[in-house]
């Protein structure tokens, strides 16, 4: 984990872009107003699926509206997906379930509700590369995994304090999308312990061991 003693020297312009947190932890790069304007993406122009879509069809990212990520952005989001939901002994990682493509679909949505996520994520991705360069002289993807994790921890701390201010807001929104995207896949559902959505002739309530754990009598 970085701390303030490890801070590299910075030039004046970047210094103005950074906010120091109240604690002694590492300050993180903020985007200045001008930069925010520059980075603010154009709104997607595609239409939505309308009020009477085919509910049976199975949709994939890109089926309904054009996607946004460049090759580099997509590569970066894949890395982020797996920092947020890594593979472990019981279940696979987020990127292995295509969650990065879902995030692309999400931020490319023509609907208003996804706009804030789009702005935040398209602002956060270049911010991450800048931060990585500041720390390791390379972009985020090429950073060592310890360095990548260190930045994520800093962001997670900022997000816990204030989920509405960049760059904590970026990480908060990204985390929510990766987690939500992952737990809505079959692998994610299995991992989180959802055992339903199976047609059954009867439903007998919780098994005996559950009731015993709760100290409740059988129904």
């Amino acid at each position: 984990m970085n701390n303030s003693e490890d801070l590299p020297r910075i030039n004046r312009r970047l210094a103005l872009q950074w906010v120091t947190t109240a604690t002694a932890s590492i300050p993180l790069l903020d985007v200045d107003v001008e930069g925010a304007e520059r980075l603010r993406p154009k709104s997607p122009v595609a239409n939505g699926y309308g009020p009477d879509p085919d509910l049976i069809r199975q949709y994939k990212p890109g089926d309904l509206w054009p996607l946004t990520f460049t090759v580099d952005q997509r590569r970066l989001v894949i890395v982020l997906c797996d920092l947020i939901i890594p593979a472990d002994e019981t279940s696979p990682s987020a990127s292995s379930q295509g969650v990065h493509d879902f995030i692309d679909e999400w931020i490319s949505s023509p609907y208003r509700d996804q706009k804030a996520d789009r702005n935040s994520i398209l602002k956060g991705l270049p911010w991450l590369d800048e931060e990585a360069k500041r720390r390791g002289g390379t972009n985020f993807v090429s950073l060592g995994s310890d360095e990548q994790l260190a930045i994520c921890h800093e962001l997670a701390r900022l997000a816990r304090k204030n989920r509405n201010t960049h760059p904590g807001s970026f990480f908060y929104r990204l985390r929510n999308l990766v987690a939500g995207g992952y737990y809505t896949t079959p692998a994610g559902m299995k991992d989180i312990g959802y055992r339903g959505n199976v047609a059954m002739p009867e439903w007998n309530g919780p098994p005996r061991e559950v009731l015993e754990r709760l100290g409740l009598d059988p129904q």
């Binding site: 009020p51 089926d63 949505s109 985390r175 994610g188 339903g196 959505n197 439903w203 409740l216």
Partner: protein, 603 residues
């Protein structure tokens, strides 16, 4: 007999019904089984629940993981098409700019109406709920009593297929023996709630009543009970009951039910009604005006064929409005004539007045006892299975508010949504939001350990909540739109403060942990917006006095007896029960009266 286009309609029908949902569907069913010829006008398209519902799809198969969008306002897989709080080209307005004084109006433009999208909770109003003025000194008494409606509750429940139990709870009536289907078993969290709420608070958690078949219906017995002496109706109903399978204990009823275990109007009312040969349905038919003849009786309905914008007229001996309470109100107000310059059947000036809605708030907690429970399938009937009926009906006079409320509980490891994974940070504590392996571990631990409770309470009619025609704004058909007026009274806010207090108490009895305190001292923050629960009723209330109400106790308008209201518009108030079952029972009762009156030549 089928869906028809306007060009194929008959010259004349006995009854023309506007709307195909709970009220219109029930009317169409009852009338056609009695041999009455009926035309239903439905503003939306045909929707076939057996082929169009995505019952078992997971969110990753939907755009945006199935999240709500302006196009699908209750989520992608919700069985609502062309529907929502905001429909392009069909606006409504609010008189106030203040959020708490605005009403949000859900419209369902499709075959079967809101029954497609319905949570299927089917509770009877209790005896006290019909005597609000007498008992509480607020709102209105209904012109009927519980005993008048009880036989129709039994009938509707037997036809619809509703699970539940008899509890003997004051003002939350039991059904007659043999009417209800067996309730599903409780989920783990619900058993915990039942145990703790009883031990610590003396409050009962009991099975809710919902329109879901937990067993197949008795097609040999029920049709004979519902249609004594009517062999054809018995046969049609028995056939239709045999088409319905019992619940497969998976998939949210809001998605629609291709096996017809969950009720919807199309599957249960309209299908046998069409097979009777006595029903025509015109979809895409937007009613614009009820017409009168020289004798001042309703002669038919003028409607717009939405497929080409053309205007048509259809005649009937009786006109039934079941377009949803406020759409029916709008239709009355837009049907102006020399005889009724302020809108049809509006000599009392009461059309549009006295809208009521469920008084609602909610709260949730994380329950440590439910963490890390051995994994098992908790779907059950997926929606609500248990509730806390109002437990202080007998001591309402001791409280500082007049309306009761109920608590509806939902817990368990539900199918994850796009929001899964962002709610664990406050539970886990620490100085970071969760990510990485810790997120995965905590998600396994905490998913399914949350208990949400929704409170829904009674609302007495008052002068501040009403609708009128907007003097300027028109919809894309050129029809004036509704303008709503809404204001929560102190009575409702006090009720919500009590809801919040008791929501906290029940969750605390389960050992719940909270991310914040309930809004006991700030009920206006907790109360859900008018219309948010989609339980609005009133606007053409029934009564004993024709100067103070729009219809009589048979839902016939005082001014125009062959004009009958069959949706929630006639409710003189909202009980702490959901309105749909009462809409069905009232519609059945009104339909029976129409049949009698037609036979007598009175209409």
């Amino acid at each position: 007999m089928p869906l028809i286009s306007p060009a194929n309609k008959k010259r004349d029908y006995d009854v023309v019904i506007v709307g195909s949902g709970a009220g219109g569907g029930q009317m169409a069913y009852t009338l056609t089984m009695e041999g009455i010829s009926v035309l239903v006008l439905e503003a939306g398209r045909m929707f076939d629940p057996t082929s169009e519902t995505a019952m078992m799809h997971t969110p990753d198969m939907a755009p945006l993981r199935g999240v709500k969008t302006p196009d699908k306002q209750y989520g992608f897989y919700d069985a609502s098409v062309e529907s929502g709080w905001n429909i392009p080209g069909e606006p409504y307005t609010n008189a106030s700019k203040e959020k708490s004084r605005q009403f949000a109006w859900w419209r369902q433009r499709m075959m079967g109406g809101r029954t497609n999208h319905w949570g299927r909770v089917s509770l009877r109003n209790g005896p006290y709920d019909f005597k609000t003025r007498t008992r509480q000194g607020v709102g209105f008494d209904w012109p009927i009593s519980y005993d008048d409606l009880a036989p129709y509750y039994d009938k509707a429940e037997m036809l619809v297929g509703i699970f539940g139990d008899s509890e003997g709870i004051e003002n939350s009536p039991d059904s007659s023996p043999g009417v209800l289907l067996p309730p599903p078993k409780f989920r783990a969290g619900e058993l915990l709630a039942k145990d703790r709420a009883k031990k610590k608070l003396g409050i009962d958690v009991v099975p809710i009543h919902r329109a879901v078949l937990t067993t197949t219906q008795d097609a040999d017995r029920v049709p004979k009970k519902l249609h004594p002496g009517n062999k054809k109706a018995q046969r049609l109903l028995a056939e239709n009951m045999r088409l319905r399978l019992k619940c497969i204990f998976a998939t949210d009823c809001h998605r629609g039910c291709s096996i017809k275990a969950a009720f919807d109007s199309t599957s249960v009312y309209l299908t046998p009604a069409l097979k009777s040969g006595n029903l025509d349905i015109i979809p895409h038919a937007m009613a614009r005006e009820i017409t009168l003849n020289k004798a001042g009786k309703a002669s038919g309905v003028t409607f717009i064929d939405k497929t080409d914008g053309s205007e048509h007229h259809v005649t009937g001996r009786v006109v039934v409005l079941a377009a949803s309470s406020q759409e029916s109100v709008r239709l009355l107000l837009n049907s102006k004539s020399n005889q009724f310059p302020d809108g049809l059947a509006n000599s009392s000036g009461k059309v549009g007045k006295y809208i009521t809605d469920s008084v609602a708030s909610s709260f949730s907690a994380q329950i440590p006892a439910l963490e890390n429970l051995p994994l098992h399938n908790e779907d059950g009937t997926v929606g609500q299975q248990v509730y806390i009926p109002w437990w202080r009906a007998g001591e309402q006079h001791k409280l500082d508010f007049t309306g009761g409320y109920k608590f509806v509980l939902v817990s368990g490891r539900k199918m994850p949504s796009i929001n899964t994974g962002k709610g664990f940070d406050w539970v886990a504590g620490g100085d970071e939001i969760l990510f990485g392996k810790k997120l995965k571990e905590d998600a396994r631990r905490y998913h399914g350990s949350f208990q949400g409770i929704g409170a829904q309470g009674a609302m007495a009619a008052n002068d501040d909540c009403y609708a009128e025609l907007d003097p300027q704004v028109k919809d894309k058909w050129g029809l004036p739109v509704l303008r709503f007026h809404w204001k929560w009274s102190d009575d409702e806010l006090k009720q919500v403060a009590d809801q919040q207090r008791m929501l906290g108490a029940v969750l605390e009895s389960m050992g719940g942990r909270f991310s914040r305190s309930p809004h006991v001292d700030d009920p206006l923050r907790a109360i859900k917006q008018g219309g948010a629960i989609i339980h609005e009723v009133g606007g053409a209330i029934m009564g004993d006095d024709r100067t103070k109400s729009v219809t009589d106790k048979w839902c016939q308008t005082w001014d125009v007896p062959n004009l009958v209201m069959a949706d929630g518009a006639t409710f003189p108030g909202t009980a702490d029960k959901n309105p749909t079952l009462t809409i069905m029972a009232l519609a059945w009762r009104a339909a029976g009266h129409v049949v009698d009156e037609l036979k007598k030549g009175h209409l």
